[in-house]
């Protein structure tokens, strides 16, 4: 029972972070019909930046704000300079641009901040005694903090998309760019804002996961998050915001329970498990569980 609660809690913590990453990928997909391979590396860059600021004496909250601002700029600039010019050239060149950004950003992080592992202070108290007991299991405050932060963030994102004028424009631009443009929406600017916003989500996800990641803060911290995030986004359906959250949470829980209880999978096969779930879902529903079908006109 104790073990079960601990595994569920672990799964939930990871699941919330995956959900944030998946949400970022979905926001980008709705704007540019591509999966941002570099999403996690953008987040890694801003997470390094935040860590570096804390080593210089800045508070983690100030570092968080700086990371969000820089993240927004990186996302927006990427859309405007690398992605928009590829719009008419199709899927593959866009994807290649993002693959290029992926390797370049990771390498830049390595050049600036080196190959060492760094331990990073979280937003929430992370001491050994900062926990509450539930059924004998220890629920650490830093995990609960991640849940709360993620829930608040998700609520803000959904409110922004469903209740504000900007959100309305975003939905219009995603559903039908031509009609949106005809009714006076600057679709290009909306896409740029979408990419920026997605990168902000990623930045926050990075700062939430780095303190509790097994990799600590290193060049390999965020790549698994991308894998889980994209698996979650695919499972939910790449253009479904709600699907991304459900996909992220269920993937986090499934990962924790499967690798915990199924011996054949064992501790080495975390990512494989997530990806196997993704491939199976895709084979039965090629656009995910909640995604709308692609139609092709002849």
């Amino acid at each position: 029972m104790t073990l079960l609660v601990e595994r569920l809690a672990d799964g939930l913590t990871n699941g919330f972070v995956y959900a944030l990453m998946a949400l970022a990928l979905v926001v980008v997909f709705r704007a540019s019909s591509t999966v941002n391979f570099a999403q996690a590396e953008m987040a890694l860059f801003t997470t390094y930046l935040a860590w570096w600021m804390t080593t210089k004496g800045a508070s983690i909250w100030l570092a968080l704000i700086a990371a969000c601002i820089v993240g927004f700029i990186i996302g927006a600039v990427t859309e405007r300079t690398l992605i928009r010019p590829m719009e008419k050239r199709g899927e593959m060149p866009t994807l290649l641009m993002l693959v290029a950004l992926f390797t370049a950003l990771n390498s830049i992080d390595g050049l600036i901040w080196g190959l060492d592992y760094h331990s990073m202070d979280g937003l929430f108290p992370g001491g050994i005694d900062d926990y509450i007991s539930v059924a004998g299991a220890r629920l650490y405050f830093e995990a609960i903090g991640v849940w709360v932060a993620a829930i608040v963030l998700l609520a803000v994102v959904f409110a922004a998309i469903n209740k504000t004028r900007l959100g309305l424009r975003m939905r219009a631009a995603a559903d039908n760019p031509t009609s949106a443009a005809l009714s006076g929406i600057n679709v290009g600017r909306i896409y740029t804002i979408g990419w920026g916003g997605a990168a902000v989500l990623g930045s926050i996800a990075g700062i939430l996961i780095a303190p509790i990641s097994a990799q600590q803060l290193s060049l390999a911290t965020m790549f698994p998050v991308l894998i889980y995030g994209s698996a979650a986004a695919i499972i939910g359906g790449l253009n479904s915001l709600g699907g991304a959250v459900i996909g992220g949470l269920s993937l986090g829980l499934a990962e924790s329970l499967l690798t915990g209880y199924v011996d054949l999978i064992g501790p080495q096969m975390h990512q494989t498990t997530a990806l196997a779930v993704m491939v199976i879902v895709l084979l039965f529903r090629p656009t995910g569980l909640f995604g709308s079908r692609l139609e092709e006109r002849v």
Partner: protein, 354 residues
Amino acid sequence: MPASSMTDGAPRTRIPGVPSGQRRHVAVMVLVIALLLLGSQAPVYRVSQLTAVFIFALAIMGLNLVAGYGGMLSLGHSAILGVGGYTTAILINDARLTPLSTIPVAVVLGVLAGALIGLPASRVKGIYLALVTLAFAVSFPEFLKRFDGLTGGAGGLIVRSRDLVPPPWSGFTRAERGEWMYWLAAAALLLGFALVRSLTSSRRGLAIRALRDHEVAAVACGVSAARDRVTLFAISGGITAGAGALYAMYLGALSPESSFTVFTSIQLITGLIIGGVATSLGPVIGGFAVVFIPAVTTELTNGQAYGLVFGVILAAVVFLMPSGIAGWLNGLPKALSVHRHRGTKHDPERHDGG
């Protein structure tokens, strides 16, 4: 675009002053053999680098079938390369087979791995397929670590050099393993080249390119999308796994994190894009790029900057030279002749389907 991309791989435009047909084939063969002989006379480390170039060129040639002619971006070819490499290493170490006799086994397993990765391609397309292939690339090192009894786990495998001596009939002595590998890799590359050439200029090759350029129209003309895509992945897997087998024989040491991660897939893709997608020479140029870019950047920066260099070059090529170096070279004679007959109608040649 659909009409123009149909021409790639098909008989080239006649170039004035260059002999055609049989005579041209002989001339090209003589030139290739002369270049290979010249290369074999280079200093030892250069010969070794060239061997690596041939091996990567072969791996990229396999990728080109899927990504270039098939228009399906595969990030999973690092796993296929690994299947080939590990098959050869395990068979030499555990089954005491001679290196050469492991190659057919590696190729067959590569065909199966390719078909497995390609199976989703019968249902899943575009970006979704890219993510599925990425899944295989990410899972492969985890599998190696999980089944460490067979694969040596994170520590990897070492093939002792006395198990990698050239066979007696080859005429190479034990000390001449470098030259033996050079000629073996060159022969494999030529074989792969001929295979890809004949495949892409066949009816089936035409069907595959038709699928890439306009799936609905191709299917309406009787092309079986699912069967052709899986077959393409299978053949591609066989070629890349063959390269993996040679890679194991060349290096004599394999480990999951050094050679078979997603970054290897990205390297292969970058090589292909620089060389030229859906061209027959592109993979060879790509092999040079993959081997020499890291070599040069390590000399210059003395660090891990090659990821940055790869990224910048990949982005620049996609921006400025979408058909790669080989595509650009192929377009040259045409561009020149257009200059000469200004005013004739000309459809700018683009290979951006890949």
